[in-house]
Symmetry: C2
Subunit: 351 residues, 2 copies
């Protein structure tokens, strides 16, 4: 298969800095869309993969799965997209398309495993896939999203991961107008959870350990702020939440949050791919409470989210960087020192 | 208020044996039913309360919340019951009847707290309530169940706690014909879970650490037995269960069980009112799995369960004892040495 060389940034080993790298992209096949990458969000997962925190990294790692760009070229059978369209690519570039999950539009739960935008198995060129910290990308059309032209394209990048990761559970668990919804943790995911829950008409409570985040949370759309270290406040809110979106990205003690749920209500984990502190069975049993998990979202619901963002003019709060500053950005993400997502201006790659 | 003296067995302190005791019952009020107790099941909770394991026991403790008897007397406004009716009383004898949970028929989740059949707050006589290890009991009619005459009355006693505790989650989570249902742990609760799930038409898998329980499990209605210590078997069943009923009564490692669930499926805890070993967030996140809890069941669903038992001729497997042997029975329950529930023949109390 013919290939083209593409500029990118890659990490070549655990703990190594990202540096300029040239990767190969496949030729545009009949169902493919080739996208000129304008912007790419910096997700915490990018850092986990570069640092091999999940023990499944394959080097060189070219991260990036919050991709916004314009269509450069389409394959002969592509009819959903044309040259110049504003499009997005998220965490997936392929899946089996045949299993029950794929058939239901839930490719993120593909029974045969979806192909990650980076660090996935590349069935065309062999080896592994390379992500959006690069000039362009070739993706089969089923995994390309239409991005509304009326929203700020650079601030739309994080919708493809941070956005859909919070949108999917909010809609799957049917959050509706008037529900009392708690968003735990105010980072890249949490700030999108607050915006979406607010736009859905919920009464949104930002639940955070940091009193300093109160004003920001309210500006993002939170109706209230609950400081989780304050036992008195926590008790006042006991058994009162219809839904909790837990965006904390590390193992932690979820028992205080479980105590906030109403009977039959659910707390969904979207960040903590780690062991949690011991959960007390009684906390679930006494009022039939639920703890669940959720990972990103399917292509159909991602498109629904983007359309909703177009209607409600929702984007992420972002800080733009040049690709040359990616290693410093990683350091700052690690310290939660970003409001709320870095986005790389990919023009800088051409310098 | 006038009272009558009633023979019973009570524990007077933590770790003390149960011994003969005389308690007072209130007079029959207009909405009350007085029940001559024929049989009373021995629940593991009885032991926890006698031993103050949950740190909320009030002595003397007269245990017993799996009560079967015949109506002796009814209050002037009672019209659902008449003298001689075969009836049951479970874990609750009162609730506020006004909160949203009570209004939905879910008195077990009463927002103001239900009144336990024993060790609850007695609002008529003061002090605390006394359970079914006694000659008779006076209960408001809303908390009295009709027991079908065609089933074995003594073996029906455990339906009032072990039965409804497993029935309620199986029906709430809509277990249906053809579902693959796992019942974890083969004790008093587990053996009822197997019987019910089998009668509902599910493909029932008994999940146990003990290969020795296989034959019994199949006799109770299990289609398969999965030995949870066998990593190969566990892997074969990975991601395949529609529902798991976890009856293990102590804290344990639930991660191997979570791995058995299908996408979107739920494991419900009904026994472990203790801290669980750390749960890995990834196990829930990767396939949107759920862990929940459930406690006993409401009066309406308890009646539905009893009616179902009448239609399907379902009762518990029991071993009958005299009240004089209650302390030895407690010892045997503690060692899981009973198939599957002790029931006290309350005639023995008259000796």
């Amino acid at each position: 298969m013919s290939k083209t060389e593409v500029k990118a940034y890659a990490a070549h080993a655990n703990d190594a800095d990202l540096e300029p790298f040239t990767l190969s992209r496949r030729e545009v096949l009949e169902n493919d869309v080739k996208i000129d990458i304008l912007y790419c969000g910096v997700c915490h997962s990018d850092i986990h993969q570069v640092r091999n925190d999940w023990k499944n990294s394959r080097y060189p790692v070219v991260p990036g799965h919050e991709i916004i760009g314009r269509v450069l070229q389409t394959g002969s059978k592509v009819n959903k997209f044309k040259e110049g369209d504003l499009v997005g690519v998220g965490c997936m570039v392929d899946s089996c398309q045949e299993c029950s999950s794929c058939q239901e539009g839930l490719e993120q739960y593909c029974e045969n495993g979806f192909v990650g935008t980076y660090n996935g198995k590349d069935k065309h060129l062999g080896g592994h896939t390379f992500g959006g910290y690069s000039e362009n990308i070739v993706v089969r059309e089923e995994f390309v999203l239409k991005v509304p032209e009326n929203i700020d394209a650079k601030a739309a990048a994080p919708l493809l991961c941070a956005g859909i990761t919070t949108w999917s559970p909010l809609t799957h668990w049917k959050v509706k107008k008037g529900d009392k919804v708690g968003v735990i943790g105010l980072g890249g995911l949490g700030h999108m959870g607050v915006k979406f829950a607010h736009a859905m008409g919920a009464h949104v409570v930002m639940i955070t350990t940091s009193p300093g985040k109160s004003e920001d949370a309210k500006n993002l759309g939170a109706d209230e702020v609950l400081i989780s270290k304050d036992a008195v406040q926590m008790k006042e809110h006991a058994n009162s939440f219809d839904f909790l979106l837990n965006t904390v990205p590390v193992g932690h003690d979820v028992n205080p949050y479980v105590s906030l749920l109403k009977r039959d209500a659910t707390m969904v984990l979207v960040g903590a791919i780690e062991p949690l502190d011991p959960i007390h069975g009684g906390g679930l049993i006494i009022k039939r409470k639920n703890i669940a998990g959720s990972v990103i979202g399917g292509i159909k619901e991602t498109q629904e989210m983007l359309d909703f963002c177009g209607e409600h003019n929702i984007v992420s709060d972002v800080e733009m960087i040049d690709i040359q500053n990616i290693n410093q950005a990683f350091e700052r993400v690690t310290k939660s020192d970003v409001k709320y997502r870095f986005v790389i201006d990919m023009k800088s790659l051409k310098n």
